[in-house]
Symmetry: C2
Subunit: 343 residues, 2 copies
């Protein structure tokens, strides 16, 4: 590696001790202003930069935290990571970022990698396969705090940052009801995810509140990917079982459904209205523009990072951690895809 100047070099150049140099550089009170000045000038001259590795070894801290997200394909998680970085850079922490690719095996491998790197804390949005409670608990009990965000572990005792999925699903469904769509159904996400259950419950309760009947056909287990939305919609079309409106688990599923509609020359929202979730940039660009729930991604990242930093501090001070679930405010953006033109 490139040769960097050290405090030793400065000490040698000025014929003083490394201790004094260290203190001068740290701007401490117990050092003669004139030598302090000399040291700083010499440091400048030699283009001295403190070696972060040495500092970390000395402080017995790696100043590193790990982030696991399911994927990178949409801009959703990257935006959250932006928020995380915004806080962590400030705090002098490095970030290890990895994606589980929706697989629990990958997630496990990544978590082990993080342990090997001695991360001081971990931020997780879990994979769609399984809620790996045992592993999370093991890590937390070993003294490495975990904060979950967006896709949180249902039962692990830890802090979590989410939006109120139930409420937003409720609102989205009510929005369709207020628009007087008759047959409203829900394309649900992967069963293992807590957000799937919450959005499903929100849908059900909104339907019940307005005395809509829920049949076995009202909720269709679909998944998370565009293709899954596409095939689910296609199946309904083939069965001539077309609803008036669909509240979809997320935007990609809604896009997939939309594609299937177009392929069969069925118009949206005239024949089938659509609502998505977790607004992506795309929502505004498809035709018709998609109604969706916008999540505060950047803020979610910031919040999770801040909570984790707190917990790391508390852990270092051997204090107890209070687990909290923070619910951020989301927003239903109504667009053309869910407006009933007949009313």
């Amino acid at each position: 590696m490139k040769k960097y100047a050290t405090i030793k070099d400065i000490a040698k150049a000025l014929n003083i001790s490394v201790a004094t140099v260290s203190r001068a550089l740290a701007d401490r009170w117990d050092v003669n202003p004139s030598t302090k000045k000399l040291v700083k000038e010499e440091a400048e001259r030699q283009n001295y930069k403190p070696n972060p590795i040495a500092t970390r070894l000395q402080n017995k801290r790696t100043k590193t935290i790990g982030v696991v997200v399911p994927e990178f394909k949409s801009s959703f998680f990257p935006n959250i990571i932006l928020g995380i970085q915004n806080i962590l850079d400030e705090a002098g922490f490095q970030l290890l970022i990895a994606q589980s690719n929706e697989s629990m095996a990958n997630e496990e491998k990544i978590l082990k990698l993080f342990e090997g790197n001695m991360v001081e804390g971990i931020l997780v949005s879990i994979n769609q396969e399984q809620d790996n409670i045992n592993l999370y608990n093991k890590i937390i009990n070993s003294g490495i705090p975990i904060v979950f965000f967006n896709r949180v572990s249902a039962t692990t005792l830890a802090s979590k940052v989410v939006i109120d999925n139930y409420k937003m699903a409720f609102f989205a469904t009510e929005h369709l009801i207020y628009n007087k769509f008759e047959k409203i159904i829900h394309f649900a996400g992967p069963a293992s995810l807590k957000i799937t259950q919450e959005r499903k419950k929100g849908f059900e309760d909104a339907m019940k509140k307005h005395h809509r009947v829920l049949t076995s056909n009202s909720i269709i287990d679909t998944g998370i990917m565009s293709e899954q939305g596409h095939s689910a919609m296609k199946k309904l079309i083939e069965e001539s079982n077309i609803p008036d409106a669909i509240f979809c688990f997320n935007d990609p599923v809604a896009f997939g459904a939309l594609k299937a509609l177009k392929e069969s020359n069925i118009t949206c929202p005239d024949t089938v209205a659509l609502v998505g979730f977790s607004e992506t940039e795309m929502a505004q660009l498809v035709e018709p523009p998609l109604t969706s729930v916008e999540q505060p991604t950047f803020k979610m990242g910031e919040t999770a990072a801040n909570i984790l930093l707190e917990q790391i501090e508390l852990t270092n001070e051997q204090q107890n951690i209070n687990f909290e679930t923070t619910s951020l405010t989301a927003h239903l953006h109504v667009r053309k895809s869910s407006i009933n033109k007949k009313i």
Copy 2:
């Protein structure tokens, strides 16, 4: 931070020296197989993990490299980063990731941050404002190799990983010509970027080859964002200066143009055909699906990372580096947005 077992602890437990433990763990030949076995068992028992910080200090290597990208909003750069990680994880390197937000000032700040963290090498896709040649050269001359990818510095002497923007722009334009569109124009990117010049040149040369006239209206400086494509298209509509086909600098610009067309009830491709660049997932989902040039993002990341690793090795061995520009194969995906129905 959490208390980890060290080789000292193992040594103490077995009443041997740390040196022996160190050697045993490194699986070296000059240590008694039986003690080696003992050490490994004890290490297992104490859940020993080598402290990466200590190793790095000892090896005088930070095993860290930095990546700067302009943005995170589309999935383009995240996918490249995935490829980078794929290589670097394997090689035991950590990644510092940052986004310049298209601003040269930010980029400079990030590069300084990387220097402070003593990265061993840097991967850069430059911002749209300015090609900061002086800074890049300063860093490279100081002994930190830089490899550029996708958006490369025009004149900095360094290795670069790109696609053949000229050729693909040429192909895209020819495709429009072969489809017998009459009035074909180009929405160009930010003037400071090399890829802007290359794509522009590809457009021009394809037009010339087929004896199409290039007027002052044939190329419109547009930019990089969806909004810019939107307003450029809107202006043409207001001026009643609508072309038959537009080769756009990238997908977002094409989406913006498409949006403007729809707002004026102008159909695509019937009245105006569109071609994008740097295919995004969205390209397949908009209506009509957008013709675009797909770039091998993952491979681009892998390639750039591999080249950087090589250069880091060469630097460490005090050997000379040969700068190479690697051109990866891209692909024009023809979709409905650029098919002339009249032929």
